[in-house]
Symmetry: C2
């Protein structure tokens, strides 16, 4: 297997140890409870923001723990939701008395396990709220839309609001406002290889692309011939804006997100075409973020996430953040 | 070809446009001269620091232009040095009257083209100095060692010194001190696919690793069976420390660098093992940086770079920087 790995069974633990060892100033890894927590948690009087999900999507969520973003993250096994015990331990570890917001991606396992944890925590003296993320325009089945790259934006903006002393209702309201105005669509150029499987989940010819992929190695909804980056950019912009429906002149935060193995040069190339496509359709791409932030192990591919922003959201976006994967202003 | 690309002939230009469009506040792309320049250049009275090299190693160097690091970068075609005209145009664009330091990786084409540019610039009223980077412990041929991940550290630390108003001799002295105390060694798990070739440069089985790779798709010096991440970490640490020879207790800045397609989770996993191996050998890994910073297109693989640091170098490392690929403190 073409990976730097000791043993598939310890992949997630080994990753978490290496992450914590690289960022001792901002996070600690609580190995007993299998959670990543902000070093100085709980922060008294601050609303705490947390999330969790299957591993394999790194740096989501563990790479986003730190001042200005998440107070804790609960990593599950590869592509598997965290269990309620992790979620409860993380919530207790970060509660600073001002309430906790749980950011939950709309996957059935996550919704169920966060819900179970919330029921138990309701018996304790804590104010726990939750916010759902479901930004994927490709899924329209009964379970509803999946949470994709929009999760990163919800976590950054809710985290910044909490850092600025918004109360828990106001932090939740920011998360809900972001989720209401964010949409994503992903394109895969390959499958990915989970460590315990040792080979790609499915085969894919090098000249095809898979439209509407998720972040857990799921195939897309349609397989078509791979086209030029310009055409792919146009397709991504059309898929996302058709659903988001931004007004002419709308200010957009643009996330061009790699799926794990696509190099930065290709993502920036794609970003250039996406920015052109947005401008030619009358939109105003005012903030850009390009890189592999919400991934699917070693998959080749990319996703476009667009968030329609206003002055308050721009200010929260620009606010300082210090995590393993996202850092500025501090 | 499994890439987001319009046309192999415009790959570099399209990438540079997309990069500049994403970071309008910090860089501009001068398309006529094919250089990436800090937006506010020339900065009067500040020593300017620049570099250049073949494209395909992104984010090196174009992703490191901005306050606190490089004033300009000259990207060549894929794996091909920039031409003297680019180097001259960049030097003139950034000279703020306090001198210019050119950071040159030890590849014959780069040394030759920077040298030609320097000869012509010597006739103009500018103080141009240069510093060579040759940190690769795997190459021991007549051309000397290649410049690898150490380049990023030279650029960050010389850039920080320039930002702190060191004069040109002092900035050059920092670059030389860093180069004297930095070493790298890379391991490849695959080849890479240049856009104009459309297929990997060479074949490689999924269960082998290539010891001593470069950053231009060159194969290593020896092909061996792939081992566990723990064993790979031990091998990397031994190769680098044997040559660097740090004293017991030496403080080390650790760069675990991906080659383009290796996911962050594997790099962090490898970092954990490297940090353990360093501590068990009596060294003090005091700063860590984990990610794909000096790459070879879509190659799977990783390299370890170790820099022995002192108080001044740590302070320069921690100093604010704002570039596309490296950002903190601003």
């Amino acid at each position: 297997m073409r990976k730097f790995i000791n043993d598939p069974a310890t992949f997630v633990t080994d990753y978490l140890r290496g992450l914590a060892a690289a960022h001792p100033g901002i996070i600690r890894y609580d190995e007993e409870n299998r959670i990543v927590v902000r070093s100085d948690a709980p922060v008294k009087g601050k609303v705490a923001v947390m999330s969790g999900g299957g591993s394999g999507c790194e740096p989501l969520h563990t790479g986003f723990v730190g001042p200005g973003m998440l107070d804790a993250a609960c990593p599950g096994q590869i592509y598997t939701s965290p269990v309620p015990n992790q979620i409860m331990a993380a919530t207790r570890a970060i509660d600073g008395g001002a309430g906790v917001l749980q950011v939950i991606k709309n996957f059935s396992g996550e919704v169920m396990n966060f819900g179970m944890a919330e029921e138990i925590l309701a018996l304790e003296d804590m104010h726990v709220e939750s916010a759902l993320v479901n930004d994927d325009v490709a899924t329209k089945d009964s379970a509803g839309r999946r949470g994709l790259g929009g999760t990163l934006l919800v976590e950054k903006l809710a985290g910044a609001a909490a850092e600025r002393s918004y109360d828990v209702a106001a932090v939740k309201q920011i998360a809900e406002r972001v989720n209401a105005r964010v949409r994503s669509f992903g394109v895969g150029l390959s499958s990915c290889t989970p460590p315990d499987r040792g080979r790609p989940i499915y085969d894919m010819p090098a000249d095809e692309m898979d439209l509407g992929i998720g972040i857990s190695g799921e195939p897309g909804r349609e397989r078509v011939p791979l086209r030029s980056a310009r055409d792919v950019a146009g397709l991504l912009v059309d898929e996302v804006t058709r659903d988001l429906g931004p007004a002419r002149g709308a200010r957009l935060l643009v996330l061009v997100n790699g799926m794990g193995s696509t190099p930065g040069s290709e993502l920036y190339l794609l970003h250039g075409e996406i920015a052109n496509a947005l401008r030619s359709r009358g939109f105003n791409p005012c903030r850009a973020m390009v890189g592999s932030y919400v991934t699917a192990l070693d998959q080749f591919g990319a996703a476009l996430t667009l968030l329609e922003v206003d002055d308050e959201l721009i200010e929260l976006w620009d606010a300082p953040v210090h995590t393993a994967a996202l850092r500025w202003g501090m």
